[in-house]
Amino acid sequence: MKQHAGWWYTGILGLLLVTIVLAMMVGTTWLGIAQIFRAVTRPASSDFTTVFTLRVPRILSSLICGGSLAVAGALFQAVFRNPIADPSILGVSAAANFFKLGGALLLPAMWGRNWFFALGGGLVALAILTSGRALADPYRLIIVGVALDATFVGLQQLLSSGATQISSSTFNGMTWSETTVLLILGVIGLIGALLIAPWANYLKLTDMALSHVGVPVSVIRWSLLLLGMYLAVSVTAVVGAIPFVGIVVPNIARRLVGHDYQTVLPFSMLAGAWLMLAADTLGRTVISPSEISAATMMAIIGGPFVILLLQRGRGFYGMSTR
């Protein structure tokens, strides 16, 4: 852990708190802090509905989604030993989205349909990513991933043409039941990630070096990969695919708090939660009463970041350390 890590943790927590309060205040109707407090005590008021039925679920969902996506990205980067690996750029989220849509058409009445189908899609994408030579070659991995992403996005458009727009990856209109699902799925995954964070550090060594010290490389690789996929797919199942959170956040986290995954993962969780909330809050205020979806906001922020990262950094092979 870097010496300044403590400060950065304090900073991100403070930022998170301020942004949460701001996000409760802003919207089509502006609510002052006093009004929010009043709303809490008067459940029948219209302010209460605005805060607790509209804004709080939306805030909670974006927090948990941001945290999940950032941690999923960090886990993928550890496993693929590649600083821009992440479930969205490698086509895992797109596959989950396509399968989710397929599920909606095939078995509209099935319980937990979105999640199970999205998980199926994630598994298919992982199977493709890990079956060939992509694992050993970081360039090949990204190209295969981008191709996979394009394929599933195309398939999804094919399937949804004619139907009304089904997935737009927005937090607009998040209900409490959707938020609860997200919270349960997300919290389980995030606790799991914190528990196996040391394993992510092991993968900084080569497979051969790990096998020399008796570490079951496949077990830790697949545990981390499946957990990352689960986190990303859970977000996709409820909200939709949101790009770049998993690339932007962990890479900034490494700059600020060091490269130890036991520090990177919790920090990414907090920073991801903040980034998602900030992006969504900005997206719903700048052109209010209309709004920009969280996915669009992240594409605008994340795209240039990745370009900068690769043009100025060391590239795909290993993490840039200095």
């Binding site: 550890a78 030993r81 040391p198 394993w199 550090n201 092991y202 993968l203 900084k204 060594l205 080569t206 051969m208 070096a209 790990l210 096998s211 020399h212 010290v213 008796g214 570490v215 079951p216 077990v219 830790i220 060091g258 490269h259 290993g318 993490m319 350390t321 200095r322």
Partner: protein, 252 residues
């Protein structure tokens, strides 16, 4: 450790090992020498069970190597390879702690006091909190050696351990290996420098074309005709004052 009729051939390649048999004496330094492509590195990988013999077997403590679980093997055999690579930042003490993993389950973290003796043994205590990327090649090599020693192995395998070291530290390393062997560790290394091999080893394996051309003490193998045949060059053994016999390669 012992090889019994060990054969290994890479698919579609001529090189490999053929029916190799021999003993690696316990508590001694055995050095494997031979020309490029003789199968030295392949042999080391077989001894570390990174490769499995296609026929024959390798035995350790009167058991075939395949008898041990990965973890049990890691408590007995450690390897310092020639090409070390890290994909991300790690501190010296974290690298050395990896060597203690065979004695812990995956949920445990290795406490620093377990790592400390190996850092001290390799003179790395002051560098414990440094990042590997910031060290010189020689210091990195010492960290990898410390990690291997942390495994408390009965057999220590080293592939070209002197590659990144200056003359002074080459000497230090060899003294260190000799004292490890004196305490009962079986040291097996591949060296390119024949004179270094003859100087520091208790036992030599001379590999040629995937076969064991000869094995014995340095005195037994210091035979110009044998070396000429194996290395395909003209050699002469001269005596250097205060050093002893020295093998010189002559222009053909």
């Amino acid at each position: 450790m012992e090889c019994r009729h060990v054969s290994y051939h890479y698919p579609r390649q001529k090189s490999g090992l053929t029916a190799l048999s021999g003993e690696l004496p316990t508590g001694k330094i055995t050095t494997i020498i031979g020309p490029n492509g003789a199968g030295k590195s392949t042999l080391l990988q077989l001894l570390a069970r990174q490769l499995l013999p296609q026929s024959g077997e390798i035995r350790l403590a009167d058991q075939p190597l395949t008898h041990w679980t990965t973890k049990q093997l890691a408590q007995r055999v450690a390897m310092v390879t020639q090409h070390h690579q890290l994909y991300d930042e790690l501190m010296v003490q974290e690298v050395v702690a990896m060597g203690r993993l065979p004695y812990h389950n995956l949920w445990q973290t290795v406490p620093f006091h377990e790592v400390q003796p190996y850092l001290a043994q390799t003179g790395l205590l002051a560098l414990a909190d440094q990042f590997m990327q910031d060290l010189s090649g020689g210091q990195q090599q010492r960290a990898w050696l410390a990690a291997a020693l942390a495994q408390e192995p009965a057999v220590l395998l080293l592939d070209e351990p002197t590659t990144y070291l200056d003359v002074h530290y080459q000497q230090t390393l060899m003294t260190q290996l000799q004292s490890l062997a004196a305490k009962g560790m079986t040291v097996v290394q591949v060296l390119h420098d024949i004179n270094q091999a003859f100087q520091v080893s208790d036992w030599l394996w001379l590999l040629n074309d995937g076969r064991l051309a000869a094995s014995g003490t340095p005195a037994q193998l210091r035979d110009p005709q044998l070396l000429e045949r194996v290395f395909n060059t003209t050699v002469e053994v001269v005596t250097v004052p205060r050093f002893g016999p020295y093998i010189v390669q002559l222009p053909n």
